[in-house]
Symmetry: T
Subunit: 155 residues, 12 copies
């Protein structure tokens, strides 16, 4: 197949494609980190935090699909393979083994803050080149910021 | 927290834990591989294969949760972090960029065959040490073998 | 298409394939027998038995799909054609015409007992060659034995 | 139980009863043929045809119940036993073993065309003796003709 | 408001209107009779017959709405008032007080047979003047005949 | 069957039984009156009033079942036959033929007011003899008074 | 693809095809007219008529699919393109701009009356050549006549 | 009724109104074109493309309502009549008669590309005058671009 | 935790608390008795009575939760432990082993009559001290009396 | 419109009206207070208390509608305007800014206790004048007392 | 708890916080005003307007939660207490007592117009400081403008 | 009724029957213990633990039905009467009165560990005599071990 004919100029495509690929790596690793915590959690607030983490997983998985399909829709191939995610993720990684609930809450709060900061840069970067992509990123950012508040409120 | 008190002996625990950790890596990477193909697919059968791949993703994600939670339920910490998956996966990786539908069908058929072979080993290995875990692995293997048939039938 | 590559050895495949084909004929004819009774029933307990028979039909139809798809998934072609069913079924057949409710209850109790006996043989036979198939047959047997009890309790 | 008192005259009953019994055999065997193809299918269009065939099965099963219950409602005993279906069906039978998707599409198109021809005769035959039965047969014929078009369009 | 302008000729309207008004009285009283039995029932089969009667009530109530709205749609005012129903109904009435289940089954079988006979006359009468109304009456008759069979089968 | 053994004294039973039988006649005729208006309605507010009347029908039908089953539960046979309703109803009857929407709203407001007055008497009468019945009547009265307000608000 | 092999004779096909194509144009334009009114409506009864018009749209859209798929099922190509609809529609067109609610009710009543008249001709025309198509047209006509009554009742 | 008082200035209103009216014509004709292909389709991929086209129809119909109601909400009358659509549409029209599946996929890919180009112009045009309208158009464009990718991927 | 501060006076609390604790024991044992019969039932009416008993179980379990939570809401600790239920229940106990359907119907009728008698005493006792509790008990009593009628009607 | 004609005497109306108006102010402010805490909450138990507060909001909003519509149904105009609520509420107000979870639990426990006390007075006051209103207030009080227990249990 | 760490600069935070607090007061009072009208409404269009007002309530309540949670997510405490709403609302207040339907429609049209004007100012104000908040406000404004059109269309 | 004819030998029946009866007592008392804690709970984690306990109740109740019906299906009468449960249960009993949340979590963790140990013995015991029963016990054990982990994780 010939590459999908993009509705964007080459320059716009490059900027937008980078924003989407970056968002994809963030969201895949966010889902892996949240699941790792979901499984290895311990502590008095186990049940609540265990279930709360799955809200983050759901959000991250829905976001993955949206940004990857947006990328290919404008003619950029998304890369969500394990090696790519492991090598390029900027999310601080969790330790192996049991994870105490208060530490998980702090860690996820921190992870979300960092991901949000990168999303805000991507929102700024795509404003001119592709408002359709920007609108998608804004929607995901709103959900991330809501989760960030809810985790931070527990600290 | 003290480690979860396992209902298994140390030896049984070791064998069962390895089976579950291996299954976890297989299932996480299966979901990533299937999503990568889901996004970068092209060809006359795009729509059908695109949707069929999401059935594999759903199966792999449901399986991840079951094996990881089974692991921690018997006192073994599951490890589903990006680095762990990237380093330990034995699943053959897809190329970056567009993927033709017939090649995807062949690749997924092959991936499933390999994963199934490892699951059959894990089923044999857990028969004595933990029939509860074995029963879980049998259930997942049946779903994997059904998907394997459906992909192979298209080749 | 080349035959589906089976995860089983030839010997295991033969035993398992026979068990599944036998189960398929049993389940298709069970559904036909139960429908025949469902339609031609008479008697004081018509309404209850009429509806109860459809539970058997549902169970038999769901089981058909599972065993036939299990067969092809391991590389054996299931045969559920009318002639095959008519020639190979071992289920005692109903008379044509109206069927009194108490006789139907007795007949279905008997049919289920015979089918169950054959399922128990298949469960024993597949224990070694294919525990995945065995697990499927166990699940269907449990449902058949539950229906057998409920019909027998009415006699 | 005495035979159900029919709202039809003897002559009308005979014609209508034959139409319904013929329809019953057609619909039971149509469901068996479509399931046989559903299970043994191969080819590039496996997934779509596999699922499409289940639409035919659903239609045929719903139709079976309607015509059989219509028969008994007017005082005629429907006969849907395996032997009856195998002996009386006029539907051309499928070969055993794997079935290529394009051949299945052609075969089902042909099977549906033949069943439809017989339904149109039954519709004509029941116009006078029992418009209630005719209305039921018209409704089923419409569904069969819709499926016939959809299979034929793929050839 | 001026009368609804009918799509039918005066003669067709008269015949069709009478058929619909007759059907309305039959269906309202059928629902009242079935409820009376539903409430005052006794006997070994209480639970089944009690619930079965509500199927008749549901059918009769849905039919009432359809025939009454059909009447006004062609410009005839339906009359479903208590006095009209009580004076014009031809359905044999139940005794006051407790009603034994076998007598109820026999009575409802008889009531349905009589209502069906009148519906068959209305179907014949409306064939020429209004096939749209005829089609509606045929649909209701099929349901009534199905219930008639199921009650008769219990006698 | 012997009469249902009542948990009430003879005197309490008589008062409660009369209240329930009266309520039954009111609710059956209310449903018939509301349906008659539902079908023959005309005027600018046709669609709204047409649908609003069905809320009254639903309320009246649900109430019928509750009061009749309450009656038999305490050992009193409810009588909801057409003749009984026509002879004993105190609800003012509608004219035959088309009914203008404003007149319908006024008529239903009036009907509801009268029914409510009788329910309030029944609530007072059953306070001592059977608080369980009283509670049921209070619940229905609340719904009737809510509908009364909503119809009156349109006048 | 060769043309779909029709179950009808050439003459029957021609008559039936014309009836279906005519019905298709009527139903597509009915949906466009009803939406135009839905959007540009004003007046005291805005909310009710606005929502009522969407019932007509739903009916017209469901009918379009049924008649177009019926046409192709018997071997006639339906034509529902914008130019075809604009040139062949016989439905009187609405003015541009705001539309008062009472005028909309009158206009839709008139549109429905005209469409119904043409449907009744098509029902008569297809009686001999194709009772299956006739049955479909009767079903749609019943819904159109019900909506016609409900709009006319508001005038 | 006086015109809806717009929250926009005259100039902003004119630009926004034109964007919405253009979008309305695009979306109505897109739904007609997709339905025409849905009905007249043939070819090996009939079933998949047939169903895929209905996703486009659903998207186009939901979009029609949103843009037309947005237009009237800011005080501009939308015009979605058959004549307007036929005369103003810029979408390339399909031939009459059967349409091969690969040609349909190519044609729809092309139609979507053209519609998307016009939506991107409308998004640019409404940025200043009405960000609320722009946000609506961005949302629809995202869906159109997703469908465009999925059709193009099949070519 | 300090004891829940009750909104009732000490005297009112004592009376109300006893009524609720008594109701709790009745309802827990009612659910155990009904399940015991549900499992060990035999006879011609097996299927109907088997399912009917589960309605009693559902009612008893919902009631348990309501009365126990009502108790603690007013500051009284409910006691639903196995020993407490076994020692304090006044419900006549079933024999071990198979239970014939007619005997079960008679036994449950009797059990319900006794439980109802105690509920009526509790309703009388709580009228003054706590109308909120009384209202809850009345609601449960109504359901118990309805089931009592339905079981008694089968004797 | 003339005032709604009340089914109550003037004196009864006055007492009942005051009870309902008081309940309305309590319930509106309860919903505002619970939402204020829902939004500004912090602390280890954030997630649980955050969601628990929305149960109180749902209860309070459902109660508002019931008491206000009950008021107008008996002829008294409910007043739920912001100024009325702010001036007449007796509920202790929360501070602005962040609210720690344990303080919120204590505050809501206290608020509920005060509201419950006023509801118990209203239940006593309406016993004679209007048992229908009393029954409504009892139902709401039960829900409030259940929530009171659940908040108090956390202190 | 330390204040939530905001992703915004102090200046951006101040502007955005004011916009959100203003929106919160508008939306809370809009829900109170719409409920007040919902309860005290009278007139020929009572039923339609009564239900239409609840659409406004639902919209306003959903919006409250979104803006308040957005505020706290960026580190600003929302204030939705009764006193705050009563003192700061700029929405014109309704009279106490019955409200005629045409006056309510006019009043709500006017209220919505004023709220929309303030939302448009907030959308302009937040464009630079926080596009995520702006996107939320745009979404609410679109719904408000749609309701404004629908109310205005009835005047 | 004669005893259900068991598909098992006498010896197999005895072993399997004991395993099922033991499991039944465990599961009934587990549901009672969990409800007792559900009702009498106090402490900071009240809400979470209160709801978590109901997951255990649901699991235990579903398990009761499965093991009891399995027992009777193989010809053994299950005994779930209050006295039997109280006398034979090996589950450590809770104190009467309020129960602090941390003590409940520890107690339930301990109860589950003991029940699991007995289930593992029953799984081993039924491996030879009845693999169908074993499969059922394995499925319940998996759920119990999952809950055990989740409670233990909170300690």
């Amino acid at each position: 197949m010939a590459a999908v004919k993009s509705p964007l100029s080459d320059e716009a495509l490059k900027v937008t494609g980078q924003a989407l690929q970056g968002a994809l790596v963030d969201l895949i690793d966010l889902s892996l980190v949240a699941k790792q915590a979901h499984w290895n959690l311990t502590g008095r607030n186990f049940k609540v935090v265990h279930e709360h983490l799955d809200e983050v997983v759901d959000l991250a998985r829905a976001g993955q699909d949206d940004v990857a399909e947006r990328a290919v829709a404008i003619g950029v191939n998304p890369d969500g393979r394990a090696r790519t995610v492991a090598d390029r993720t900027e999310i601080p990684q969790l330790e192996a083994g049991y994870l105490a609930d208060d530490k998980v809450v702090a860690a996820i709060t921190d992870v979300l803050a960092q991901v949000i900061a990168r999303f805000r840069e991507r929102i700024a970067a795509t404003d001119e080149p592709d408002p359709v992509t920007q609108d998608l990123l804004i929607g995901i950012a709103r959900e991330l910021e809501k989760q960030h508040w809810m985790f931070q409120a527990q600290t």
